[in-house]
Symmetry: C2
Subunit: 381 residues, 2 copies
C-alpha cells in the first residue's frame, strides 16, 4: 500500500498549455512563433511561498515524462532514479516541472505540429530554433505557473545547456542550478556527430524534405541509423567492452553473414528500431541544430565572464570521467568562469565507465551528490 | 630532371594476376573461390637473392595505389610520404608489393567483380571473407612473385591486422614487420562503428540487397554517411577542434538552416561525397565484416601466445597517443605477447593529436621510426 501511496503522489498527468498568445515569441533567427504549445508534467505541490519549484530540462531525445510512465514506450520515466518521493529531487517536498522543449515531438510546438496559419504540419517550415529560444519558451511556462524564482534548474547534456542559458539570461529567477555533463558550446566533434545524424535522416528518401507526416512511408531507417550513431557516442569504449565485448548473439560461432553476429550489433539495431516509435525525424534535425548553434556566450561576443556576470545562483557542476562527448574539461570551463566571478560553485567529477549516459543510469554517486546539494541548499534558503 | 628520374623509378603500373587457378582458395567460411584475381602495384626491383621485398597491406578504404597516382581521384598515392626513393620504404633499394585485398573494389576479386560461374557480379553472393582469407590470397601472390621470405610486412589499421595474421600464420616467411595503429581483435566499439556504417548502407533503398551494379541508382547516400561516420572516428577531438573549431563556412553569421554552417560540416559532406566515386558499397560491407570478425587468436582458442609461438621476426609496433579507435593499450597487447615469447619487438607511441589517421599523415616521427627500423634491420640481415 505504501508503494501505491507513493505512486499516486508521484504520478503526473501530461498537461498542455498555450503560451505567447498575446505577444509572439521572437526567436533568435528573427522569426516569431505566434502562440506556442508547451506540453509538461508536474510532480508535487507548489508551496505557499512558491520557493520549492525545481525545473528539469531534458536532453536531446528526452521529454516531459521524467518520472512517469512513457505513453508510447510504457517505460518508467527517464529520471525515475532521481525524481520521486524521498529521492534527490523529492516530490514530497518540491514542485517539479518538466516541459517538453519547443522543437520537440511530445506535444510542444515543433515541426510535427500543425501550423495554425497554414492548417498543415510545419515540417521544415518550422523556424530553426536555438537553446535560448527553448529557454524563452520555458520562461513563459514558469511565468504562467506563477513562479518568480525557481529553487533549482537542472538537466544533463542538452538539458545542461538549458540550465546554463537560464543562469545567463534569467539570473535573478534561478536560486540554484545543477548542470550535468554539458558544455558552454558544442565542439567540432559534437557538431560532426550531429551532422552525421542529420545527413543520415536526410539521406532517407522517405524524409522527402521533411514532408512525410501524411505519408505511409516515414524516414524510419535514416532516423534509426542516426540513433545508432548517437548511442555509440553516449557509451564509453570501456562500457561497451564490459557490457558486450565480442560476445556473440544467441549463437556459438560466427554466421559469415551480415546478420547481427555480435551482441553489440543486436543492441544497436534494437536501439535504432525502438527509437523511431517515439521520436520524430524532423525534431531530431531541429534539436541537434539548436545544440550545434549553442554558445552561451554568443550574445556577449564570446565572453563567458560577461555572459554570467549577473549570476548569483548556487551551482553544482557534475561530470563523468568516461564521458568523451562532454568531457570533464568542458564542464571545468564552466566552473572556472564561475570561480572567476565569485559565484558559489561546487564541482564533482564522478568516476565511472558509463560514458555520457551516466546521468541517466543508476549511479549512486550522482544520487548522493544531487541529494546533498539540494537538501543543504533548501535548508539554507 | 632529378624529380623526373625519381618519378620514373617510383611509378608503377597496376597489374592484375589470376591466382588459385589450380587449387581453389578455401575460405574460413567453408566456401571456396575458384581462381581469384589480385590487382597489385610494385615499385623497385627484386634483387638476385630475393631478400629485399616489402609487402604493404592497405587499410579498409585503401588500395594498391600506395605510391602512385590514383586512377580515379588523381591524387598522389596514400603512402607517398613513406614509400619512394630515399624514403623509409626506399624504392631505390626495396622491391615493394602492394596488393588490393580480396573483397576490395580496385580490381581484386570482390563483390563488384563478375562471378565466372554465373556471368554476373557477385554482389552479396560473394562469400563473407576474413582477414586470414585476405592474407591467404596475398600469400598466393607472394608465391607467384617467387618470394620465399618477405623482408618486411607493414600496414596501419586493417593493414596492421593483416601484418599480425602474416606473423601468426606464415611466420617463417616474414623477416620483419611493422604493425601500426592496430589491434589483435576488434573491440565492441570498433564493431559498433562498423555496424553503424553497414546499417547506413543497407538502409539506402538503392543498395537493393546488393544488386545495384547494373542500375543507374547506386547506394551513394548510404555509403557517403558511412564514410562520414568513419571519418569522425579517424580524427581526435583535439584535431577536429584545432582544424575546425566552431569556424563558419564562407559566412559571417549562422544561417538558421540545415545547410553547412560550420566548416566541419562542409568537410564531412565533402569526405562523404568524394568517397563514393572511388569505393563500392558492397566492398565496404565485406571489408568491415572481415575487420569485425578479426581475432588473430581465434584459431588458437583465444590464446595469443599460441598464435605467435612460431614467430621469430623482428617487429616494430607503432601507436599514436590520440588514436581512440586503436589506442595505445590495444597495440601494447601485441608488444606484451611478443615480449613474453622473446620475440625481438620494439614499441613506439607517437605523441600527436592527429588521431587514428596519423599513419596516413606527414608525421615526421613515423617517418624517422620506420626509416631507422628498416635501415638497421636490412643492414643486419
Amino acid at each position: 500500500m505504501l508503494g501505491g501511496f507513493f505512486l499516486v503522489k508521484q504520478m503526473s498527468e501530461n498537461k498542455i498549455v498555450e503560451l505567447a498568445k498575446e505577444q509572439a515569441l521572437v526567436l533568435d533567427c528573427g522569426k516569431s512563433l505566434k502562440s506556442i504549445k508547451t506540453a509538461y508534467t508536474t510532480y508535487g505541490k507548489l508551496n505557499a511561498t512558491k520557493d520549492n519549484a525545481i525545473l528539469i530540462c531534458h536532453a536531446l531525445t528526452g521529454d516531459q515524462y521524467v518520472a512517469s510512465k512513457h505513453p508510447i514506450t510504457k517505460k518508467e520515466g527517464w529520471w525515475s532514479y532521481i525524481v520521486g518521493p524521498e529521492k534527490p529531487i523529492d516530490t514530497n517536498k518540491f514542485f517539479v516541472v518538466c516541459p517538453n522543449v519547443i522543437g520537440g515531438c511530445m506535444g510542444s510546438t515543433g515541426p510535427k505540429e500543425v501550423n495554425s496559419e497554414t492548417g498543415k504540419e510545419y515540417g521544415t517550415d518550422f523556424p530553426v530554433i536555438t537553446i535560448a529560444d527553448m529557454v524563452r519558451a520555458q520562461k513563459l511556462l514558469i511565468d504562467y505557473l506563477g513562479i518568480e524564482k525557481i529553487f533549482c534548474v537542472t538537466g544533463g547534456s542538452m538539458g545542461g545547456m538549458l540550465v546554463l542559458e537560464w543562469l545567463s539570461k534569467f539570473p535573478k529567477m534561478v536560486h540554484s542550478a545543477i548542470p550535468i555533463a554539458t558544455a558552454t558550446n558544442h565542439s567540432a566533434q559534437n557538431i560532426a556527430l550531429n551532422e552525421l545524424a542529420r545527413q543520415s535522416i536526410m539521406a532517407d528518401p522517405n524524409w522527402n524534405s521533411g514532408n512525410y507526416y501524411n505519408s505511409d512511408n516515414k524516414p524510419l531507417k535514416g532516423l534509426s541509423v542516426a540513433r545508432m550513431a548517437a548511442h555509440i557516442s553516449y557509451l564509453s569504449k570501456d562500457a561497451l567492452h564490459s557490457k558486450f565485448g565480442r560476445n556473440l548473439q544467441d549463437k556459438n560461432s560466427l554466421d559469415y553473414s551480415f546478420d547481427a553476429d555480435f551482441q553489440i550489433e543486436s543492441y544497436l539495431r534494437h536501439q535504432g528500431f525502438t527509437f523511431v516509435d517515439r521520436f520524430d525525424a524532423n525534431s531530431y534535425l531541429y534539436i541537434t541544430r539548436a545544440m550545434d548553434y549553442f554558445d552561451v556566450s554568443s550574445s556577449n561576443n564570446g565572453s563567458l565572464i560577461e555572459s554570467f556576470k549577473n549570476t548569483s545562483s548556487k551551482v553544482l557542476c557534475i561530470s563523468f570521467t568516461s564521458d568523451w562527448l562532454y568531457p570533464t574539461s568542458e564542464n571545468k570551463k564552466i566552473v572556472k568562469v564561475f570561480n572567476a566571478l565569485g559565484i558559489n560553485v561546487s564541482f564533482i567529477e564522478i568516476e565511472t565507465d558509463g560514458g555520457h549516459d551516466s546521468f541517466l543510469l543508476e549511479e549512486p554517486k550522482l544520487f548522493e551528490a544531487m541529494q546533498g546539494f539540494i537538501k543543504s541548499t533548501y535548508e539554507n534558503l
